[in-house]
């Protein structure tokens, strides 16, 4: 598989692949990195937002 890197497209067999993830109340995040001889040449990130914004103060206060 070809990977877009800082050095152009490279076959992933030439690269070291590292993956990681994070999951908390705010987000689920995954990332993939490709390294070439100790140099980071590709990093992509996918964030799933879990936490929205809520305007809870919208209430009729006519008391």
């Amino acid at each position: 598989m070809l990977v877009t890197t800082t050095k152009g497209e490279m076959d992933d067999s030439l690269l070291e692949k590292k993956e990681g993830s994070l999951d908390n109340d705010n987000e689920t995040t995954t990332w993939v990195e490709y390294w070439l001889e100790g140099e980071l040449v590709h990093r992509s990130v996918h964030v799933l937002l879990k936490k929205n914004i809520v305007a809870e103060g919208i209430q009729a206060m006519l008391a």
Binding site: V47, L49, N52, A55, I58
Partner: protein, 151 residues
Amino acid sequence: MANTQAMCTSFKGQLLTATHNFGTAPTRGTTAADTFKAALYLASATLNASTTAYSATGEVSGTGYTAGGITVTNGTAPATSGTTAYWTPSASLVYTSVTLSTAFDTVLIYNSTQSNAAVGVFTFGSQTVTAGTFTLTMPSNAAGTALLNLA
């Protein structure tokens, strides 16, 4: 029967479509939806509830990223459920083929049709991207989980 004091849910939904105007508001020449954009900000920036409009100050910069960010896909009109009005972009925010070397942790959604007025600030864990893609996937578009909720 008894009466119950409440803000009408239909009104909340209409706030999201600019049906009501209690003050001075922009003159609208069309009924079409506005264009919303999403800009990324450095972890060192200071966006918050006081942010009123898009600004390039603190915005990320790097290969493949255009100042102002990307257009938000708005294919689903605001809706109501129960007593909540809500809206969510209808597609993920995708920044393709970018290199963003300085850590960023925020996206600002703003209205580029209405003088870049701010809509919401959303934060996530600090990230960098190298010759890659940054994708922000939206939560489910439903009351309580949608990106914007008027509860």
